[in-house]
Amino acid sequence: MNDFLLLTENLLDITLFICFIGISASIILLMYRIIKGPSNADRAVALDSIGINLMGVAAFIGIFLITSKLTDVVLLIGILSFLGTVAIAKYLEKGVIIERDLD
């Protein structure tokens, strides 16, 4: 009984750790894709996915450290990851990121 109580007390920590392991594994796998990735598009998608994983990590750490100050970070990573992916996508598509005004 005591063991079970102890387990429930630590349940959050254990869950966090398992999730963290999972996310880390996916980040490492995505890293492999970035390094290896046969085409640049593969790399771009991998980077985008890493961004989303990082949002998760930031949120986990926020829970782990019991603070609400990290929500900004989560949101920011969301925005930046989007912007970065768009930039890379545009680069891959057109060769430039900011086009010159032709008018």
Partner: protein, 802 residues
């Protein structure tokens, strides 16, 4: 009352006004106005003679840099009186001579400004009591001499001679400055008088010997002593009045003055004795020996000046033995050597000045000073011949000219010093009189060359364009006056001895009471060794002169390529080549090499200092434990970091760089720094985007094809730098010496009204840094804008003009 302090500045003041006077009176030769300056100073100094002869001294002091003990103090005593009279007296005669020598077509304002600068500086050297003031004037003489030697600066030889003399004399000047600083360190005063009175307490100081040697190097370079004599013959490219004034009568005697002035301070030891007398006697011999070889009259006179200066120097050295022996009736023979030195100093200035002026006249009238093209001038230039004969015979040491007296006294002192039993002189002392005699023989030979090769023999008129031979009378006035002095001093030597030289002796030997009657000069002193030596000189010298063409070949044993000039030239060009080689060796133009130097230096110095001081010690037990989250990010960063090194494409490298940046942001998150994490993520994104922006314009990503050896060096260096920083970081972390200051900022809410401590520090406590960082960003932005806007596009006109 005209004090000496003011007198020194009169030439400088006059130099300022020369251009104005020249503009005002264009018709008159500017030299006539200048002539007033030395004449006034000469008369002013003459008025001091009676009081100085009574043993009085004059001290004038004015503040200059009192906080460093540097005062402008002048000290007029017997010793500086002799030099002062020489400088102003011969200065007047030289200016009078130069009025006729230089035509108004020359840039006379320059000439007289330099000359007056030199005169003022020289007066400053001899009258200064403060070492620093002395040094300032000393360098001024070097500089003004440099300007005067290169007066005809369009000639290559003039520039060469000027550079050479400047290099040598200024190097000596620096040695002297170092010596002065050492003296100051020993005695704590810069005043020569005070140093002389406190010298007994420091004679076994560790700096005493270095100071002595450096001071002598300064004196020897200025006075053209062996082996620094090489600049003097090349300085003969100067106009003849300059040669007569600077390079025979005044500047080259500054070193003599220095030695005489510092004899009471450093004299009395065997090192001083051997250096001064030894170098002096070698200079005497070398100068006279090589003078015979010269065919250019001025070069001959230059070597003879070197030789005579060596003679004066050696006599000063002999005299310093008196300070060792202490005062006794016997030591009079050594103090007499100094008396003879000063007497010969005066004599030399008179006859050498006259000789230079005569040769200037011959040069001007004949268009050459080469003895091989001169001859038979006796009937054409009788006055010049008379003066040249007086000067040469005096230099050779013949009666009835003043050189005879001083040469006899020189022999007396050399013979006396051979009999000394101090400083291990009983074994080597005889060499002094032998070398002195040998050198005098050569002196006799070259003096005969001056007189007989120039004025006798057949007239080689076809070489000469000029038909009117004897120069204008004004040009002859100065050499005639000097010639009169040469003869006059022979007949009335005791006037000079009593009023000029005897008062100076008391300042060279301050601890002794000297009797005046021991220093009277007699022209006839019986049939003694000295007279025999002179007779032998005449006989042997005459024989050598007559057989000159037979033994001239001996000079082929001393070719130009092995002389000290060659050493100077080779060392100068060698230094240039060597430094060029050295610079080329490390300034390769490759950024990689410079980075290697920087990192090697960093590793060697930082690591070396830490190892040397034993600072590499750390203790891991106090560190906080590493959580599993941290481990994961460490692994990510490591993987990405190593992967960058082996990335195949640029895009991979950029993306991996982004991964590192974001992981760092996560360390900020983990270590509870949300502001940093926010900024880091944004900046990382922007950087990645910027990288991608440039991507388009960059060339293909090429693998550097560097040899494996340089790759290994790079690796070793980078590993070393990394290790050093890791170890330093660990060591710093384990040594927590002080209380943290951040506790203060924890009250940010109360102090600054903000909950966010980071922002309170950035915007409130330390806002000054933030402001400047904003400026940095601003400058960066403007910089990027201007680089892009002002770039010279292809085909566009270059508006910057380079």
């Amino acid at each position: 009352m005209l004090t000496i302090n003011l007198a020194i500045f009169i030439p400088f003041l006059a130099a300022i006004f020369i251009p104005f006077i020249n503009n005002r009176f264009k018709q008159t030769h500017i030299g006539w106005f200048i002539l007033v300056v030395p004449v006034v100073l000469f008369i002013a100094l003459l008025r001091f003679i009676p009081t100085i002869a009574r043993g009085e001294t004059y001290i004038n002091s004015s503040q200059w840099i009192p906080s460093y003990g540097i005062e402008f103090t002048t000290y007029l005593d017997g010793l500086s009186m002799i030099f002062g009279l020489l400088i102003t007296g011969i200065g007047s005669l030289v200016i009078l001579y130069s009025i006729y020598y230089l035509s108004t077509k020359e840039s006379l304002t320059h000439f007289y400004i330099y000359l007056l600068l030199f005169m003022g500086a020289m007066l400053g050297v001899i009258f200064s009591d403060n070492l620093m003031a002395l040094y300032v004037f000393w360098e001024l003489t070097s500089i003004s001499s440099f300007l005067l030697i290169a007066f005809w600066y369009h000639r290559k030889q003039s520039r060469y001679g000027a550079k050479k003399s400047l290099l040598i004399t200024v190097s000596g000047g620096f040695a002297m400055l170092a010596s002065f600083i050492m003296i100051y360190a020993m005695t704590g005063t810069l005043s020569i008088r005070e140093i002389a009175s406190s010298i007994d307490s420091i004679s076994d100081h560790a700096l005493f010997i270095p100071a002595l040697i450096l001071l002598l190097i300064g004196a020897f370079t200025k006075s053209a002593q062996f082996p620094f004599h090489i600049w003097l013959p090349d300085a003969m490219e100067a106009p003849t009045p300059v040669s007569a004034y600077l390079h025979s009568a005044t500047m080259v005697k500054a070193g003599i003055y220095l030695v005489a002035r510092f004899t009471p301070i450093f004299g009395g030891g065997d090192l001083w004795f051997w250096l001064v007398s030894g170098v002096g006697i070698i200079t005497l011999f070398v100068g006279s020996f090589f003078a015979v070889k010269q065919t250019d009259l001025k070069a001959l006179l230059a070597y003879s000046t070197v030789s005579q200066l060596g003679m004066i120097m050696s006599m000063l050295g002999f005299g310093s033995a008196a300070l060792h022996a202490g005062y006794s009736p016997k030591s009079v023979v050594y103090t007499q050597a100094v008396f003879a030195a000063l007497f010969h100093l005066v004599n030399h200035s008179t006859f050498k000045g006259a000789l230079f002026m005569v040769i200037g006249i011959i040069d001007l009238q004949m268009g050459t000073r080469d003895i091989r093209r001169l001859g038979g001038l006796i009937s054409l230039m009788p006055v010049s011949f008379t003066i040249a004969m007086i000067g040469s015979f005096s230099m050779a040491g013949l009666p009835p000219f003043n050189g005879f007296l001083s040469k006899e006294m020189f022999f007396t002192s050399a013979l006396n010093v051979s009999n000394l039993d101090i400083f291990s002189l009983n074994t080597w002392g005889t060499l002094f009189s032998v070398i002195a005699w040998g050198a005098s023989v050569f002196t006799f030979v070259y003096c005969m060359i001056i007189v007989f090769k120039t004025f006798f023999g057949e007239y080689k008129g076809r070489h000469h364009e000029n038909k009117q031979f004897e120069p204008p009378i004004g040009m002859l006035i100065s050499p005639i006056i000097l010639g009169l002095f040469v003869v006059g001093i022979f007949f009335f030597p005791n006037l000079v001895g009593k009023y000029l030289i005897y008062p100076a002796l008391g300042h060279i030997f301050p601890s002794m009471t000297l009797q005046l009657d021991a220093y009277s000069i007699t022209a006839w002193h019986g049939f003694n060794t000295e007279l025999m030596m002179t007779i032998a000189i005449v006989l042997v010298g005459g024989f050598l002169y007559l057989t000159l063409h037979r033994w001239r070949g001996v000079y082929r044993l001393f070719p130009e390529t092995r002389s000290f000039d060659a050493v100077y030239n080779h060392s100068l060009s060698g230094m240039e080549k060597g430094s060029a080689k050295l610079t080329k060796l490390y300034m390769t133009g490759f950024l990689r090499d410079y980075l290697v130097y920087i990192y090697l230096f960093l590793v060697a110095v930082t690591g070396g200092v830490f190892i040397y001081t034993g600072a590499f010690s750390f203790d891991l037990s106090q560190d906080s434990p590493v959580s599993s989250y941290e481990w994961i990010f460490v692994v990510i960063i490591l993987t990405a970091g190593f992967a960058i090194l082996f990335a195949k494409s640029r895009l991979t490298a950029i993306l991996l760089n982004g991964v590192i940046g974001f992981s760092i942001a996560f360390f900020f998150v983990l270590f509870r720094a949300p502001d940093l994490a926010l900024t880091q993520t944004i900046i990382e994104t922007v950087t990645t985007v910027l990288f991608l922006l440039c991507f388009y314009f960059l060339p293909e990503w090429k693998k550097e094809s560097s040899p494996p050896s340089s790759k290994i060096t790079n690796m070793l260096i980078s590993v070393a730098v990394g290790l050093i920083f890791i170890v330093i970081g660990l060591s710093v972390n384990s040594g927590n010496l002080f209380e943290q200051v951040s506790l203060f900022f924890e009250d940010a809410d109360e102090l600054a009204g903000g909950n966010n401590i980071v922002n309170a520090i950035l915007g409130d406590f330390r806002a000054f840094d933030t402001m400047l960082e904003v400026v940095v960003l601003f400058i960066g932005g403007i910089g990027v804008y201007s680089i892009l806007k002002l770039k010279k596009w292809k085909g566009e006109e270059n508006i910057e003009g380079d």
